[in-house]
């Protein structure tokens, strides 16, 4: 890792610490000198320096499209940045199956769904289907996991009914549409229902999607959150460890 003299990490253009950044945005002003200077003033307010407005295009209906380059003086001490990660190092396909067989002694029941009005199934399928994602097998492919994919637009109530009926160890919730934060109340609602049903402790609750972070998941009351590019093996490893921990705790009361 290359940090400037003061130990802070800055953006890198073509020399260490030069802080070079590219920005673009539209302004509700006709393209021209004024739009260019308003863009410059805006970037100055962000504390940026050596600002070059390199494009002030006419984007139609008296809007200007701005492209700019600038230097960002600020730096970040990487050691003081909290990186919240969901999983310990992943176990392989074989290790997960061996771990479940050894520690749980029975199949791990996992139920997944895209809930509320969300009709996006490709993401959850990538985690649960046989084929999996980017060469990593989906949960259905794990002999020690009993995976149930309920598909899309599943109301929270229906999902909870399935969890009870199937005696689920874990629930996977996919939320892809995040416009107007439609996903937040929907995700929170499920946790409330699990608590009302008295099975919150018994079921490991995980949510995921391109705009879901582990931090957001924890805030919403989930045990973990997985974002874009997640591999099924990462999810399988986390679930196996979490479910085993839960069952041991209930068994030994610790």
């Amino acid at each position: 890792m290359k940090v400037a003299g003061d130990g802070l990490v800055r953006p890198y253009g073509d020399t260490l610490g030069d802080g070079r950044m590219q920005l673009s945005f539209a302004l509700p002003l006709p393209a021209g000198d004024q739009a260019r200077e308003v863009a410059r003033a805006l970037l100055q307010q962000l504390g940026l320096e050596d600002i070059q407005v390199v494009a002030t295009d006419d984007a139609g209906a008296s809007f200007a499209f701005i492209v700019a380059y600038a230097r960002c003086r600020q730096g970040v001490d990487p050691s003081r940045v909290r990186v919240v990660r969901a999983t310990a190092p992943d176990m392989t396909f074989e290790e997960v199956n061996a771990y479940i067989a050894r520690e749980l002694g029975r199949k791990m029941v996992v139920v997944g769904a895209a809930t509320g009005t969300d009709a996006h199934t490709v993401g959850l399928d990538a985690i649960m289907n046989m084929k999996g994602f980017a060469g990593s097998y989906g949960l259905e492919r794990y002999p020690e996991i009993d995976a149930h994919n309920l598909g899309s637009q599943v109301p929270n109530e229906t999902l909870v009914a399935h969890l009870v009926q199937l005696g689920a160890d874990a629930v996977l919730v996919s939320q892809v549409v995040t416009q107007k934060n439609v996903h937040l109340p929907n995700l929170t609602r499920l946790i409330e229902l699990l608590e009302a049903e008295g099975i919150r402790d018994r079921v490991v609750a995980v949510c995921g999607g391109p705009r879901i972070s582990h931090e957001l998941a924890l805030e919403l009351g989930y045990d973990a959150g997985f974002g874009a590019g997640t591999l099924p093996s990462q999810v399988a490893s986390f679930l196996a460890r979490e479910v085993v921990k839960r069952t041991q705790k209930t068994r030994t009361g610790r």
Partner: protein
């Protein structure tokens, strides 16, 4: 010409098989109507507005007759009879029903010939209104011109129709030819059409008559200002398919998403309901001069394009035959496909050239709708721009007609104003630079591109053979399309399917299909 050499015998066989598949379900279509078909008739008969609980009057009228088990006679019959009995027009009749002051079934029934004649007179007025709107479009398009093909198709989806108008005006100023207002998430599943202008929506703006009118008017002003006719698109897929088709026709919308199978496959709407609805909605769109668009792009979101191109072609043959059954001329059947081969595949660009050229060659008279790469885009908006440039080039190189612009931010958010500005200006640059490429390019005889096209056509014929043997409904039950299995009586909306009584009366079919009438 970049027209690919295609075996005419295979095309003929595929067309025949598709025709047979469609005719197999014709019997089911002719034997049924649906709540949404009848609501569409209400719309055409000028029934609009909502009751005090906000329930649209077409729903009130149709529900009342459906609950009494008499919808099979056709709502137009009851309205015609009531009109004769009360001297009132359908609009007032609906108000009376809503107020509980009138029960269409409790009025004295006039002689059938009188009722049919009155029904035909009422229908004739709606039909003339549609013809007038159709002529108005043709005059406007002739006077203003329509810009070179492929036409640039852009979506707006802010949730607020007034904000949509502002962004649509900016898009037209930037060079867009067609504006599509994306519907709010899940509107497919609503069994009513929301009323009035709307300012709230998830991932889109509700399709309502008022929103249609607001945007159509704004685009007419834009068209005058920028000197070309701007076309407006909406989506009639879902439980209100014929009804939204009717509203679109009444407000002079130009293009309607109207796929015969999309609702079944991607929205889990019952197939019996969908097949009847699509017939009537396409009849209205055909008659109103509206270009329909079909949704074969969806097959390539849930399946790998290299493996699924033949399902797109097979579905296009079927969609075209269903459209012909509803009387739509080929030049109004905007068959859809998409640029969705995984860009990491070696020769991905050759696969795309082969498929786009094949679709162009197989359906020479149809305005083909080519849709952009989506699922392989990531947050790297610069890489997304490369995919869209390759897409733009294939589109102009293979003579496509309607070009849905790709957005660099596809994997991030619904488009910002600058996303559209860049998409439009870049598409115009590429298409101008490749203006006559379609005339100039050819593919090596017996080369890989030609071989790929032939293989896709052969596989499509194979799939159509299976479907013709099984029948469409059984084929859908076995998941032959998009690997999705749908049960015949499963999904939403079966409750809205009603067996036609012997005296079923729907004058719109006679007028709109004319002698081709079913």
């Amino acid at each position: 010409m970049a027209t690919i050499r295609v075996d005419p015998a295979l095309v003929e066989e595929a067309t025949g098989l598709a025709r047979q598949i469609v005719l197999d379900v014709k019997e089911h279509i002719d034997a049924h109507t649906t709540t949404s078909v009848e609501r569409a008739c209400c719309r055409l008969l000028d029934i609009d507005g909502v009751d005090d609980q906000g329930v649209p009057l077409p729903n009130v009228v149709v529900e009342s007759v459906a609950q009494a088990g008499r919808l099979g006679r056709g709502i137009t019959y009851w309205l015609a009879n009531a009109s004769l009995a009360t001297g009132e027009e359908p609009a007032q009749l609906a108000q009376e029903c809503a107020a509980g002051r009138l029960d269409l079934l409790r009025l004295p029934s006039h002689r059938p010939e009188e009722v049919l004649a009155a029904g035909r007179r009422m229908a004739a007025r709606a039909v003339e209104a549609l013809l007038a709107l159709r002529n108005q479009r043709e005059e406007l398009a002739a006077r203003l011109g329509s810009g070179p093909r492929p036409w640039l198709y852009v979506i707006v989806a802010t949730g607020n129709i007034h904000e949509d108008v502002l962004q649509a005006q900016a898009a037209v100023a930037q060079g867009a030819d067609i504006i599509a207002v994306i519907r709010s998430t899940g509107q497919s599943l609503l069994d009513y059409v929301p009323h009035g202008p709307t300012t709230e929506g998830f991932g889109g703006t509700y399709a309502t008559r008022a929103n249609f009118r607001i945007m159509r008017q704004a685009l007419d002003e834009c068209g005058e200002k920028h000197g070309r006719y701007i076309r407006l698109v909406n989506y009639c897929s879902g439980l209100c398919m014929p009804e939204i088709a009717a509203l679109g026709a009444l407000e002079r919308l130009d293009v309607m998403l109207n796929d015969a199978m999309y609702g079944i496959l991607f929205r889990d709407i019952n197939m019996k309901r969908t097949l009847v609805d699509q017939f009537f909605s396409r009849m209205i769109n055909g008659f109103a001069g509206t270009i329909i668009n079909t949704g074969e792009d969806n097959y390539l979101t849930t399946d790998d394009a290299v493996r699924a191109h033949h399902t797109v072609l097979a579905s296009q043959f079927i969609n075209l035959e269903f459209a012909r059954l509803s009387g739509i001329p080929d030049h109004q059947v905007g068959l859809g496909h998409a640029f969705q081969v995984d860009p990491a595949t070696e020769d991905a660009f050759l696969y795309e050239l082969a498929m786009a050229s094949l679709v162009r060659a197989v359906f020479p008279d149809c305005p083909i709708k080519f849709m952009p790469p989506t699922k392989y885009k990531t947050g790297d908006i610069f890489r997304a721009g490369v995919l869209d440039t390759l897409f733009n080039l294939v589109s102009v190189a293979t003579g496509q007609d309607i070009h849905l612009l790709g957005m660099a931010t596809e994997a991030i958010h619904t488009p910002y104003l600058q996303d559209r500005y860049l998409a439009i200006s870049q598409a115009r640059l590429v298409m101008n630079a490749g203006r006559h490429l379609f005339r100039e390019l050819e593919f090596a005889a017996g080369g890989a591109i030609e071989a790929r096209a032939r293989a896709v056509l052969e596989q499509a014929v194979q799939l159509l053979r299976e479907l013709a043997d099984l029948g469409l409904m059984a084929g859908l039950e076995q998941g032959l399309f998009a690997q999705v299995r749908r049960r015949r009586d499963g999904g939403k909306g079966l409750d809205g399917v009603v067996r036609r009584e012997d005296g079923y009366f729907n004058p719109f079919v006679e007028y709109m299909l004319g002698e081709r009438g079913v």
